[in-house]
């Protein structure tokens, strides 16, 4: 479509332009070839006539009655011109005595070109002629006798080509006229064909316009699906719609989940305030009630913050956010996270072991990594038995990326819960319940953040033995 001008953004007008241009070119070509061919044909016919006339002129040269071999020209039997309305020229030379005769209209000063083909074209006094030169033509009028000396003639015969030109012009006119008539039939036919051929595109556009957030189905008739040229388009449209529908559903689900999750803290706050108002109470009960309400509000606020954090992480995972990232040491961020969780670990009487593998450089926001590590650590510490230990192993993964493992020796996660633990608001397993504020968002945020950095997280767990979370971060994060 590079040939399309700026104003031609329509396939239809482009195709019409091509068809009309090619048809016109075809008609012009036919016209030129037709004219050339007719001209050649007519000229060769004219050449034949001229040849015949020249031979008739030759036939009028006769020997004298004596035996000298002298000749004379008998013009009493001279035939009419090739074109009776325009007189021809002729001249005859004999071998021995030179010019024998020439037509009355032979122009003075006309030079016959010494060489070149027998037939040639020339213009004299603005009139176009076709000429013929014949050399060594024997005198046809034969005499018997030993003393007879035959001689040969040179004949030049020329005829105006006005009639030929006229005929060529006429046939050109007829060819052009018939071409135009044919164009008048074939161009509408081609346009009709183009319009018909483009109908499936219009229908496809019509069907595509019916797709909306309420109806994701692209319902195409069988005949459109079977069009070879449209198949890549319809296939990719269907795939795109499927993906759109999926992310739309996800968004809707997220919104629905969020709204539902918000209801519980709101219900809490409301019930606290209502029970305070339910009956007259001693004055000193009110500050306590207000304090409880504030606690409820804190919890609501916390949930909102978690939801926002998750939304941001998921947005970023979809490439919506870009930040200038610094290069940091993964191992150092793990050490920081362990330091931050020290109080929690001590209160659980749990020890955390970190096995390092030297500095590991990674391009990331240290806050994001902190959030990932502290969430995973918090879970590991909380589910460790009293006096247990948590292992954090930082190493190079097999694919050249970094691998960070958090392993506890707690109760583990039941197999039917394991596939769902990264889902938003999933709290199916109560032992995972209150780990991250009890909202069921911590692991969802961890997963979204890890994926935002192009990494992956997997959970392995044996009930009764413990849980192992494995984070793999690519050597060079993709963005």
């Amino acid at each position: 479509m590079a040939g399309l001008g700026r104003g031609h953004n329509s396939i239809k007008s482009w195709l019409i332009l091509v068809v009309v241009l090619s048809q016109t070119l075809l008609a012009l070509g036919l016209l030129v070839i037709g004219i050339l061919f007719t001209h050649r044909q007519l000229r060769s016919t004219l050449d034949g006539h001229i040849q015949a006339h020249a031979m008739s002129v030759a036939a009028l040269v006769r020997y004298t009655e004596d035996a000298t071999g002298n000749v004379y020209f008998d013009d009493s039997l001279m035939p009419p011109s090739v074109d009776p309305s325009r007189p021809d020229w002729y001249a005859v030379w004999t071998e021995r005595s030179g010019l024998l005769t020439r037509s009355a209209n032979w122009p003075a000063g006309f030079e016959i070109p010494p060489n070149g083909p027998d037939h040639w074209s020339f213009t004299w006094a603005n009139i176009r002629y076709r000429g013929l030169r014949l050399f060594r033509v024997p005198v046809l009028d034969r005499e018997e006798g030993s003393a007879f000396h035959p001689q040969t003639l040179t004949i030049v015969y020329a005829s105006p080509t006005a009639r030929l030109d006229q005929q060529v012009k006429h046939s050109g006119f007829y060819i052009a006229l018939s071409s135009l008539l044919l164009l008048a039939v074939t161009i509408p036919l081609a346009l009709w064909g183009i319009r018909r051929g483009l109908l499936p595109l219009q229908e496809l556009a019509g069907k595509a316009a019916l797709v909306s957030s309420h109806n994701w189905e692209l319902q195409l008739p069988e005949e459109i699906q079977q069009i070879e040229e449209l198949r890549p388009l319809t296939d990719s449209m269907s795939t795109m719609l499927e993906r759109l529908r999926h992310s739309f559903d996800q968004q809707g689900e997220f919104l629905g989940n969020t709204a539902h999750e918000l209801k519980t803290p709101v219900a809490m706050l409301k019930s606290t305030l209502q029970s305070l108002l339910q009956r007259p109470r001693p004055l000193e009960e009110y500050p306590a009630g207000i304090e409880r309400s504030l606690e409820d509000l804190d919890r609501l606020e916390q949930l909102l913050q978690w939801i926002l954090r998750l939304a941001r992480a998921e947005q970023w995972a979809r490439g919506a956010l870009r930040r200038d990232l610094e290069i940091i040491d993964l191992t150092a961020t793990c050490e920081d996270a362990i330091e931050r969780m020290r109080a929690l670990a001590e209160s659980h009487n749990t020890t955390v072991h970190l096995s390092r593998n030297g500095p590991m450089l990674f391009r990331a926001d240290p806050e994001d990594l902190q959030l990932i590590w502290t969430n995973l650590l918090q879970n590991a510490i909380r589910y460790s038995p009293e006096g247990g230990s948590v292992a954090v192993v930082v190493s190079w993964g097999s694919g050249g990326g970094a691998q960070i493992i958090f392993e506890d020796h707690g109760a583990g996660i039941a197999p039917d819960h394991l596939p769902h633990i990264f889902e938003r608001f999933y709290r199916g397993d109560p032992s995972r319940n209150r780990a991250t504020g009890g909202f069921g968002l911590g692991l969802a945020i961890v997963k979204a953040l890890v994926e935002a950095y192009g990494g992956s997280i997997t959970a392995d767990s044996t009930p009764g033995k413990g849980t192992r979370m494995t984070v793999v971060l690519p050597a060079v994060p993709k963005f």
Binding site: A267, Q274, E295
Partner: protein, 223 residues
Amino acid sequence: MRVLIIEDEPRLAENVARSLRESAGYAVDIANDGREGLFMAESNEYDAVLLDLMLPHIGGLQVLHHIRGAGQRTPVLIMTVREEKESVVALLNAGADDYLTKPFDLGELLARTKALIRRGKGHPSPLLAVGDLELNTVDRSVRRGGRPIGLTAMEYRVLEYLAYRPRAVVSKTELLEHLYDYNWEKFSNVIEVYISGLRRKLDDGSTHQLIHTLRGQGYILQD
């Protein structure tokens, strides 16, 4: 009356319990997860169960299935965050008697719970009458022969329980089961104290007594 609240949000459960205790005089037990809730529902006799759906260990719907599967007729009110028609239909079909979507109004929850208990006892009307004795379960007022009678909270609870089952023998154990929550030590002689207090107040100025004692079996409220 004794009510069980199965709700994993302790603050919400506590608020609801407080409201039921203060405004209706019910004994209230709280379970914070499905497993504990189911255990309590199976091991005690409740007059109503308030059940949250999103519960740790065992989900609310499963608890409901277990309760109904065991043939318990205790009225169950579901407290849910979902208000879609399908989920409501599924809940009612699973044996729930009523539902309320969070966040709810405590007054409405209270009224619905009272109505559930009334229907569960076969008395849709909030007014209970045995002979010339009248109880209004809404404002917890008691009259005998048109004369208002002032009762203590515990006395009213004993009388209300008896009034829901007129002419039936109610044992001391049954009374204890339905009047005290899990955290109370249960001494049967407390009941005797309340009964004698009730007799004194109810029969004052009347020719015949309403509460009869069947030795070794329990009490009957009848004209």
